[in-house]
Symmetry: C2
Subunit: 445 residues, 2 copies
């Protein structure tokens, strides 16, 4: 009968049989300490005069029988939940031996460069600090989902195979689709708008694809997009309110369930006051000019330094690590973005900027049929290929809008990771799909 490691805490003085992986072995001559992990935690096992225990190595798969006992005073380990106890090992079975490890998996820090981290991904995913990243991401995605379900949003499945390249034609992957071409969707935008027609409030959690032709620290070719959209808004400020509501839930759940993971990264929940402050794009550029002397007032939107500067402003003026920048220029937003009623050069749209980078993007959408058809054509889209999308407007679409965030980006922003690849279990870029593509495929001519 297996004892889950977490449950050993209730079994002091009793026998226990644990199943797991060797995390680390410390050989003190006659006494061997073996840390073992399973899905529920880590515990120390003490073997005395056991040659088999001496031969154990990290990642060996073992079954250990023994007696749970209190640790000697002064030898407790506050780093693990079972740190007040240990198992006195009585029998040991090795189910599978691990091969030679290219990395010291027992260390508190992995201390490897990114290529090494990814070349040995199936191993590095076993390190507690790496696992923390994906526990944090799971909490973020759950929080997004639960927050919106409580507001009566319907979760739906958006397709990723799409009939036409729509948002930025160059950065789309083409699929050989039987006798035709198809493409990998760059966003579920059209589908979530269609779902507003059906369910009024809809969201989807799914992969989107960008054929980003460069290797940067902030782009993946495949990432998890959290997308929400809802109808009957009076103003795009209501969308920002919904973003704030969702972000609050994410932060609340992270502080309740994710504290130990954040601690490993010295990360904190972003602070903001009663309400996330908001400035228009023009105001933002003016503020930056006044504060820094750097004049980007003629540029269409904020450059990376501008995003840093406006965050600095938000922090100093409002004690907020997050700030909305609103009214992005029409030229910088997709064809479905709602133009501002007083100035069609700008849109009823926003980005949420935090800690110097973009966190969320959103806005109101055009909901009138003639208007969306006109804009689709103006932007060079084929209305026939967009038929299902345009139908949603032909048959009555209310004023609506929504927002999107990337799960990996939010994870990266919260934990302060240096490279977004760390926030994806299996990151894809133009060179790597698990392995380096040049190593397994001849380049095409």
């Amino acid at each position: 009968m297996r004892t889950i490691i977490r449950d050993t805490l209730n079994k002091v003085g009793e026998k226990a049989t644990i199943y797991g992986w060797v995390r680390l072995v410390r050989d003190h001559g006659k006494v061997t300490f073996v840390d073992v992990r399973d899905f529920s935690g880590v515990i120390q096992v003490v073997f005395v005069g056991n040659a088999d225990a001496k031969s154990l190595r990290s990642e060996d798969v073992v079954v250990i029988e023994g007696t749970v006992q209190q640790r000697k005073a002064g030898t407790e380990n506050t780093e693990i939940e079972t740190g007040s106890i240990e198992i006195f090992g009585e029998s040991l079975t090795v189910l599978e031996r691990a091969g030679d490890l290219p990395i010291d998996m027992g260390a508190a820090e992995l201390n490897v460069e990114l290529p090494t981290l990814l070349d040995h991904r199936s191993l590095t995913l076993r390190h507690p600090k790496v696992q923390a990243i994906f526990k944090v991401q799971e909490i973020i995605v759950d929080a997004f989902r639960n927050a919106l379900k409580e507001k009566d949003f319907t979760e739906f499945v958006a397709p990723a195979i799409v009939p036409t390249a729509t948002e930025g034609g160059a950065e789309v992957f083409k699929i050989d689709y039987f006798d035709y071409n198809a493409f990998l969707g760059q966003s579920p935008q059209f589908y979530k708008q269609i779902m507003v027609g059906a369910f009024e409030r809809a969201f989807t959690v799914g992969k989107v694809y960008r054929a980003e032709p460069s290797v940067t620290t902030r782009h993946l070719t495949e990432y998890l997009s959290l997308d929400a959209e809802f109808g009957f808004i009076n103003d795009f400020m209501e969308i920002m309110d919904m973003v704030e509501y969702v972000m609050r839930r994410i932060f609340k759940d992270l502080s309740e369930k994710g504290e130990k993971y954040l601690k490993l990264y010295g990360a904190t929940i972003p602070q903001f006051s009663d309400k996330i402050p908001a400035v228009t794009m023009d105001e933002a550029k003016e503020i930056i000019f006044k504060r820094t002397g750097r004049d980007i007032r003629k540029k269409p939107d904020l450059d990376p330094q501008g995003e840093k500067d406006i965050c600095q402003y938000a922090y100093e003026e409002f004690g907020s690590e997050l700030i909305f920048v609103t009214h992005y220029p029409t030229a910088k937003r997709p064809f479905y973005t709602y133009p501002n009623k007083d100035n069609t050069e700008i849109t009823d749209s926003f980005d949420l900027i935090g800690r110097g980078v973009e966190w969320v993007t959103g806005g109101r959408r055009i909901n009138n049929y003639e208007h969306i058809v006109e804009n689709a054509k103006k932007w060079g889209n084929d209305p026939e290929a967009l038929d299902i999308y345009l139908q949603a407007f032909r048959y009555g679409m209310p004023p609506e809008g929504g927002f999107a965030l990337g799960a990996e980006r939010i994870t990266m922003n919260i934990l302060g990771l240096q490279n977004i690849r760390e926030a994806s279990a299996f990151p894809r870029d133009m060179e790597r799909v698990d392995v380096m593509l040049r190593d397994i495929q001849p380049e095409e001519e």
Copy 2:
């Protein structure tokens, strides 16, 4: 101030302003009845001598102010939650007019053929009976997720872009991936096994892709796969126990939250006794021979009629609409399937069959490094392309296994839908990706 339609039940005698879509208009001369829907429900609005109300058509987007009142005795509508009340309409604003509808959206049944259903997908998704399908699917996916989270499974994101075609080379989509080829994953199998090495218990909800070169009623090229995998099993029966646990949760949640949707389809929750019965493949074929005289004992596994027959047996013998068939032949299962220790011609695997068709597939996997490498090669895979997968075994993998179910298939099976396309909001097949591909693309030479 908007009143959500559901909340009108608490506002009898009060003013309310509702926002929504016209579901149907019944013009009785001086009196016009307008059913309006929003995300929370449907309510009847009564207009007296209102010409604008007479001009309303289904799917018009409206704002209506009025007074909530009890309906006259005998005029209640038990089909809708607000059926005991109605709104006496006092003002009407049309936000957007719907175009001419190609389908009668006000009818209780859509009564359209599948091509029509899909040609007008953004409209047909608004019909209550169509919406019920996706509400049921949402309950199924949530139940799968919540059941496994309660068992300490970690949810992770499996990639869909993969470096090599692995499970059935012919039915895989190829992607133009920068200077290389990549492929769309046919299952998250490798990744969930890798995650067993990391988290011991893992699941993922994500899209998988099959280049199914035929149009059938049971295949989609893109579908939502619910995949779970876990370590430290003693026997593959433990995987079947986990399947049973998950199915119980799905059925429980459907009966608690989905009853009204099931009712629209005259659908019932599958019945089974204390435990889902199980027979081996050989036993199943023998039973079928004895019961029907049809001899499929020389065939490797059950044909479609065989699946129907074994379900008939389960129902008559055990009162169960579900039955496990175990020990599928090695030749019919992928290279990672665990061979039975007494007979390597068969595997420690199973299908859950219900109502005559497959519901779930699963089994134990090979967990020894040398064994999996040998099998990968024997099945013709390139070990270099599988490097990240094989690593998981090189560095210690416990005995493990798992299972998978398709969200659309389970939805179809429970509701008794005739075609799996009905169970996908945006179904893709070899001819259709929203629109018929031949209509928007020249065929490639």
